[in-house]
Symmetry: C2
Subunit: 432 residues, 2 copies
Amino acid sequence: LARGMYVQARRQLHNLPAWDVALLLESSPPKARAIIWQLVDADEHGDILEELSEEVQKSVIRQMAPEKLAAATEGMDTDDLAYVLRGLPEQVYQEVLKSMDEQDRHRAEKALSYEDETAGSMMNTDTITLRPDVTIDVVMRYLRLKGELPEATDKLYVVNRDDQFIGEISISRLVTVDPSKLVNDVMEADVQSIPVDMDETEVAKLFERQDWISAPVVDAENHLLGRITIDDVVDIIREDAQHSMLSMAGLDDDEDTFAPVWKSTRRRSVWLAVNLVTALLAAAVSSMFEDILAQMAILAILNTIVPSMGGIAGSQTLTLVIRGMALGHIGPSNQRWLIGKELAIGALNGVIWALLIAAVVAAWKQDLVIGGIIAFAMMANLLAAGLAGVTVPLILKKFDIDPALAGGVILTTVTDVVGIFAFLGTATLLLG
Amino acid sequence: LARGMYVQARRQLHNLPAWDVALLLESSPPKARAIIWQLVDADEHGDILEELSEEVQKSVIRQMAPEKLAAATEGMDTDDLAYVLRGLPEQVYQEVLKSMDEQDRHRAEKALSYEDETAGSMMNTDTITLRPDVTIDVVMRYLRLKGELPEATDKLYVVNRDDQFIGEISISRLVTVDPSKLVNDVMEADVQSIPVDMDETEVAKLFERQDWISAPVVDAENHLLGRITIDDVVDIIREDAQHSMLSMAGLDDDEDTFAPVWKSTRRRSVWLAVNLVTALLAAAVSSMFEDILAQMAILAILNTIVPSMGGIAGSQTLTLVIRGMALGHIGPSNQRWLIGKELAIGALNGVIWALLIAAVVAAWKQDLVIGGIIAFAMMANLLAAGLAGVTVPLILKKFDIDPALAGGVILTTVTDVVGIFAFLGTATLLLG
């Protein structure tokens, strides 16, 4: 770019809201990303960093000097601050901490003391707390003095002398009750709070279930530590929902579409390696039937149809079971019913597609026997697909392995092996 | 179940919150669902219906008499009411409308006049509106008279005499400003409102982007029609995120894990039919090389490896591109870069896996020529996979076809055909 265009680009970026600059960065190849970041005003760095996904954030932070990074994190919400700092290499992290002022450093260290992906790492400390023994009128005067409330403040929290959480008042209640009443009399005391070590996915489920806008976070002794707001929960909900889709293709949640080539290649090669083993296994099974394959080329031609249909039917079942498990719909009480159901679908589908493929093959290759053999193999494989589609994710979950990640490979291995065995094995028995 | 157990079950269900009963219904096979529904108190029917997914809701509604359904919908939020009514067959719908009282019927007809999956179908009409020329003090007295505000009310809307939206005041601002000021002076006038015909996915994106808790909905003349709240948006965000995963397996968004066998079989058979055509196409390609397959059984054994690797590599790219398109990261400006990147990854992966498979095959079958042939085919197919992984979804989107639904099938067809052609074609040229 020419010198004049830089100035123009800088002005345009300056007028864009942080969210749009973040989107622009997410959508740009590595080189363009670096240039855009240099053109952005330094005082907007913090706001933009908050909006970036983990991978892109990392790639941008890498080119910043520690003191600039420290400046950018000034005034960030606690949860965003922790999120940014967590991504730093140890040495940079120490330098950034050194460049921070006392208060921010303390806040950062506190935020980082909570485990990642828990309520503690999602929460903000910008709560407004009240004592139970003051009147609503006093509260109103206090708020007016304060001037502005933190974003997404829908509730004020009531704590006792030891800072223990004892109840809450929604702001909409505050404006509708008699101002002469005591906080203690109008507050809601029977409120569910979030333990600081609760997993973020559980937190998201609670929010969805209770339609919360914000919720208090407490430690084991019920001390109020902060609050979680819906905007941070929305990110978790979307990430969790996308997780299964990405995992099923062997991709990481944070996979950056515009990452450099070598980095993407390395990440994706793991999955290709696993698949190569699976494909070689299938080839090894075919290899057991080399004699019959050598005699009849038609078997080689038709050999891929049955495994392919099994793979599709199985992954439909697998996808539904994975989603059902994520939504909490599948448990010990209905597993057996579900296995029975998927076996019945497998049988029904088996009959339908067995008859159809037999008809097609008989018509195409004028061979009724091979039509019958492929029909039998189809039947067997669709049954196997239904059974594996339910049981593989259930078993993986028992061993604490992510079914979305490993389920697909195991399933297609089953349907490949069963499909080839059923087809070539039967052919060997009848024709060999 | 014995008579006594029914009573006990009924009591237990009575003590569960609506959300939990909904979860129980979602997790139950059809027969159990019907029994549970009969055991639930009639006055809780409405609350539970609101929480159910579309498919399960339909299956439950089917067993209700129209007048009972009308009773259950009494007092429902407008958007939930519309959601339930939309699912009804025309005749039942008319009967339900007849059983409603005047006011509810009017509300229902109004809600149904907006198109499904737009801002209009998501909104509620429970807004609190203010005039610009009153003081905050008057507003506060009005709210106190009102007594209770609708759920998730974080803002009050300001309208002129013609009910046109002119601004908003957040409740947290209401409690912090000088009560003697006029609404007009403290309201935020420069507020983005949502057009009533905006697509629900766009609405969700706006909420995510602006961190809204609620937002006003207006018609083309800027009349305030209602508001959308974050709890309804969260459902859309989760559904949209899950949509891609389910579509990629040829499943419907509303697919009910516990639907009856025949229904599930019918739904899934569409995808199996499409796949059968694809598999037969691949077989037809193999069939073109019948001569060489008849000569060398080893080709038949190895024939599945290259298509399989291409399918995996291609679907990784496809998954990333589909996600990137959903997040708005991929547009005309970076498409060419992305195609170049995925081709480079394809080439790099091609070299790696070509060398590896050549080594494996050479070691396993003691055949260097076939090792070379499979290496060449691998190289060609991984390049094709990278290219197709980006271009197929882009082309589908141009023709307004959902890439998540059709992308996978087209992609694997490409990788199957290219893989088989490259492997068996080269073998025919060199060895035939």
